[in-house]
């Protein structure tokens, strides 16, 4: 039997045991501490880069600073496109707890329309939730006040001052300067957000579009330190935006207005070019529209109305409108005849009122039923005899006509610095074969000779060709932008002659004299304006058929619908022997060139030459002070 185990205190042994446990405990503590150190090394050394990035992202919010867009001036320094401060109601979505409720309340308070809400929702989808998104633009003073009173109820909603593009001359510059509109989804995909951060608008047409890069500048940004609630604490760093460059156009807004007013109720286009430089002085397409509406965003209804309008106000007739040049082509063909030695100035053709190709019955009519009788080049241009030019065209042949007209820039883009230019058409055998799978018929050469048929030109091309003619064959490239001004420097657009057509001066002189006779001669088709002017103008009227009158039928504007009336055209340059302005006018369904189109050209020229003389006489340099 085992004795009962009696536990007797063994102090030294207890102490030894305790001491060993102390050592073990200390080792364990040290090991655990080392474990913590390893963990800290893992976080603070290995993971440092990663966590430092996360920490930065945590606290730094990048807020873009949109650049100030460059202004657009006319040649005399008047502002055509400016930036006006407007107040808009903007929402930062992430700060709004109940968006639906907020929108409903704002709708009541400020009469926010459904369309504005729809646009806001669209913008909201593609913006970050902390970005400020405009809901209602251009608030009135009353609206601002009404919101200010109720501001406390609208968390995340605020009034922001933004610069918004404004076009003080409205329809006068609608086509040429163009307009800005809100960036759409397709554009957004191609935009460099480094440049466009914070920008909601972009140039959509005209100069605003083609010079977008230069006008826009570059966005800067603010690095804003935020706390966990994303409230801004302070600005850590700022990269200032680079403002866009200002642009000075060759356009003269006075001429724009004169041309616009002169067109009156009629639709049409006026393009004036300075022949030696190619600077576009006037570019009017009528009807116009108010480009400012596009900046704020048209409602669907407004846009549909503009689109549906039969007058097509959005259509830029100066570069996209294609018209048969009618008789305005005759000086060029006359020059071609002389150039290829097909005719001599003194050589005559008999005009019985019609022209027939050998062995063919078809009669090609002259506009003058009774005929012009014996007609030389001077008479043919002065009185615009069709038969003379049927004959001339027949003798030239389509190949030479094609070549010569192409040299003057017909049928191709001029290279103007606004987008959307149409090439037009100078027909050729090759074109007809390719486009219509048909051979070229001799009759088609004839009607090309009077500027009808397949021939399609834009008012800009016509003005440019007139300028080339005025230059004696120097081919110029039309340009709208004269200079660009950045913060530090001003750069002039280089104006260089593309090429010099090999024209014999005598031939050229003959045509100029003939064209002077159109305006100043007693039987000239534009003699009415010739009486009113104190300078020498060389011009040519034209009447382009819209509606083909059948054989043996008479054109009667009284029974024809307005849309089918002839287009009235006029080209001119002045002063005839030292040209400073070349112009082309198209008045749609205007009737006769001499009566409808020529007076418009005359008014523009009157003003230009008068003010131009004045400038040259007084200071020798153009006045660039903006009007206030």
């Amino acid at each position: 039997m085992a004795p009962p185990i009696v536990h007797i205190r063994n102090t030294p042994q207890e102490k030894r045991l305790f001491f060993s446990r102390v050592v073990i405990a200390f080792i364990l503590v040290t090991l655990f501490m080392i474990g913590l150190v390893i963990r800290l090394v893992y976080l603070q050394v290995d993971g440092h880069q990663h966590y430092a990035t996360l920490s930065k992202q945590n606290r730094i919010k990048i807020a873009p600073l949109p650049p100030t867009r460059g202004l657009i001036y006319d040649r005399k320094g008047r502002v055509l496109a400016e930036n006006l401060p407007t107040y808009s109601l903007e929402i930062i979505p992430e700060q709004v707890s109940d968006m639906q409720q907020t929108l409903v309340h704002l709708k009541q308070l400020l009469h926010v329309s459904n369309e504005e809400i729809a646009r806001f929702e669209k913008l909201r989808k593609r913006q970050k939730s902390f970005a400020s998104i405009p809901l209602k633009l251009a608030l009135s003073e009353q609206e601002i006040a009404r919101f200010a009173v109720n501001r406390t109820f609208f968390q995340g909603v605020d009034i922001q001052a933004r610069l918004i593009r404004s076009y003080p001359y409205k329809e006068l510059t609608a086509h040429v300067v163009g307009y800005m509109g809100q960036i759409n989804e397709a554009e957004l995909k191609n935009l460099d957000m480094n440049r466009y951060g914070g920008t909601h608008h972009i140039g959509k047409t005209g100069i605003e579009k083609s010079y977008e890069e230069i006008l826009h500048g570059r966005a800067g940004y603010e690095e804003i330190e935020t706390n966990a609630q994303r409230r801004s604490i302070r600005t850590v760093g700022t990269v200032a935006p680079l403002p866009g460059n200002n642009i000075t156009l060759s356009l003269d807004i006075d001429l724009q207005k004169i041309a616009y007013d002169a067109l009156g109720e009629r639709n049409g286009a006026v393009v004036a070019i300075q022949p030696d430089t190619g600077e576009v002085l006037t570019m009017i397409s009528k009807p116009g529209f108010d480009p400012n509406k596009f900046v704020y965003g048209l409602t669907t209804k407004e846009y549909a109305a503009l689109q549906a309008s039969r007058a097509r106000p959005l259509f830029n007739r100066t570069i996209r409108g294609l018209y048969p040049p009618g008789s305005t082509i005759k000086p060029f063909l006359g020059l071609a005849g002389l150039h290829y030695n097909v005719v001599k100035p003194s050589q005559t053709t008999y005009c019985p009122g019609f022209y027939q190709l050998p062995k063919l019955k078809h009669k090609y009519r002259c506009w003058k039923r009774k005929g012009h009788g014996t007609t030389n080049l001077l008479k043919a241009i002065t009185q615009s005899c069709d038969v003379y030019f049927y004959n001339l065209a027949q003798n030239l042949g389509i190949d030479r006509i094609y070549s010569f007209l192409s040299d003057f820039g017909f049928g191709k883009q001029s290279g103007l610095d606004v987008p959307g230019e149409k090439a037009g058409l100078v027909p050729s055998r090759k074109w007809k074969r390719d486009a219509r799978q048909q051979p070229w018929y001799p009759g088609e050469t004839l009607i090309t000779g009077i500027g009808q048929g397949f021939l399609q030109i834009s008012p800009l091309q016509l003005a440019r060709a007139t300028a080339i003619l005025a230059n004696g064959g120097e081919v110029i490239k039309p340009i709208l932008v004269n200079e660009q001004t950045s913060l530090t420097q001003t750069s002039q657009t280089e104006k260089d002659t593309l090429e010099k057509l090999q024209l014999r001066p005598a031939n050229y002189q003959t045509i100029v004299d003939d064209m002077i006779n159109v305006v100043h001669g007693p039987r000239g088709t534009a003699r009415k304006i010739g009486k009113k002017i104190s300078y020498l103008m060389a011009g040519k009227t034209g009447t382009a058929q819209v509606f083909t009158v059948k054989q043996e039928e008479k054109y009667d504007d009284k029974i024809l619908a307005k849309e089918l009336h002839d287009h009235a055209l006029f080209i001119a340059f002045a002063p005839a022997h030292a040209p400073r302005i070349a112009i082309a006018v198209v008045v749609e369904n205007g009737g006769h060139g001499g009566s409808a189109a020529a007076p418009i050209a005359q008014q523009v020229m009157d003003h230009f030459l008068a003010s131009d003389n004045q400038q040259i006489n007084t200071s020798g340099k153009p006045a660039l002070e903006p009007e206030t």
């Binding site: 446990r21 200390f26 966590y51 966990a228």
Partner: protein
């Protein structure tokens, strides 16, 4: 060794400069380490609290009170603590029970008790009463403890732990358990039993899970995968790791920790104050802080091993190791290796109660150190 029990070599008290320390016989190393820690704590706290003078003054006052308490506690001989151990334990138990019955609710848990206008957490008393009770119980019997004694100790341990866990206060429950368990370990509990308890503990985990509150379960789940809930429960851990990691080796500089100063780091002046320190002082700072803690722990263990009786030995070791558990659990949770259980960083986190408790513990430690040579060996 025997000599050192009679003659203190650790303390050079022969010079007149240290006459006060001589009289009071405080452990210089421990005192200096604690003062350094307290001062460092104030520096960090200043940054973590958003440079608030009001809070800093409050914290300074508490620290001062805690140190005063430590000196006062150190004056009482260990025998007094030994005698009062069961009474304190009993009072603690009664208070804990009353918390469950009439306690104040703070942050969704019943932890507070208001007695005579004084608001405090009775669970804090247990942090001291528990090791005292276990040490008292084991010191009466020969060591190492036998199985029956261990079972009794476990029972003594379980009752308050369950009461605290029911409040629910997982952090304190863990600390209270640790304070008792470390004493069992130091008493020489056999390794087989330790392994057995660990095995049973692991087996009980599912049962524990069953009794956990929703937010406690969430804490464990988000500890396992913090990214699963980056804006909810995982937010704390993610932001804490970002703060620590972005501090790098050298830190962002005092008052320059962006995570802290911009309020990304939640509870930056309480449970997550270590992350503030790590962000602003970097790896160099954290290693220095850990070293400081290690010095205190080492010193505590030395005091324990120099103590003359079982009770003092066990209690001193228990207090020291509980202190370590504080440090380890806190840093472990803010660095993402342990679940977030709400354990403050000792002497640095904002809050009076835990500071008082800890310094009370160190007071006892000092008392043990001071009174060792008067006791018979």
């Amino acid at each position: 060794m025997r000599k050192s029990t009679i003659y203190d070599r650790d303390l050079d008290i022969s010079t007149d400069d240290n006459w006060l320390l001589h009289r009071l016989e405080f452990d210089v190393i421990l005192i200096l380490a604690l003062i350094s820690l307290g001062a460092l704590g104030l520096v960090i706290f200043h940054s973590a609290s958003g440079a608030s003078d009001v809070l800093l003054h409050k914290q300074m006052l508490r620290l001062g009170l805690a140190f005063a308490l430590m000196f006062a506690v150190a004056q009482v001989p260990p025998a007094v603590y030994q005698r009062s151990s069961p009474i304190l334990y009993l009072i603690g138990l009664i208070l804990l029970a009353s918390v469950l019955l009439f306690g104040d609710i703070g942050k969704g848990a019943q932890r507070w008790l208001v007695i005579a206008g004084f608001r405090f957490q009775p669970s804090e008393i247990m942090k001291i009463a528990m090791p005292m009770m276990i040490a008292w119980y084991l010191a009466h019997r020969p060591l190492p403890p036998r199985f029956k004694q261990i079972m009794v100790a476990v029972l003594l341990l379980s009752i308050p732990t369950v009461l605290i866990a029911k409040q629910p206060d997982l952090g304190t429950a863990i600390l209270v358990t640790a304070s008792g368990a470390t004493i069992l370990f130091m008493a020489g509990m056999s390794w087989y039993l330790i392994l057995g308890v660990v095995a049973i503990g692991a087996g009980c985990a599912p049962i524990l899970w069953h009794f956990m509150r929703e937010y406690q379960r969430n804490r464990v789940l988000t500890f396992l995968n913090p990214e699963s809930d980056p804006l909810g429960s995982g937010y704390h851990i993610i932001q804490s790791k970002i703060a620590i990691g972005s501090g790098g080796i050298n830190g962002k500089g005092w008052l320059k920790g962006t995570q802290t100063q911009l309020d990304f780091l939640p509870e930056s002046s309480t449970d997550f104050i270590f992350s503030v320190f790590a962000e602003e002082f970097g790896l160099i700072g954290t290693i220095a802080l850990l070293t400081l803690y290690l010095i205190i722990i080492a010193r505590g263990l030395i005091i324990a091993s120099q103590a003359q009786d079982s009770y003092s030995r066990l209690l001193a070791a228990g207090i020291t190791l509980t202190f370590f558990v504080y440090v380890f659990v806190n840093i472990g949770m803010v660095t993402g290796v342990l679940p977030v259980v709400g354990v403050p960083l000792p002497l640095i986190s904002y809050g009076g109660t835990s500071m008082i408790t800890i310094m009370f513990g160190f007071g006892i430690l000092m008392s043990i150190h001071r009174h060792r040579k008067f006791l018979p060996s």
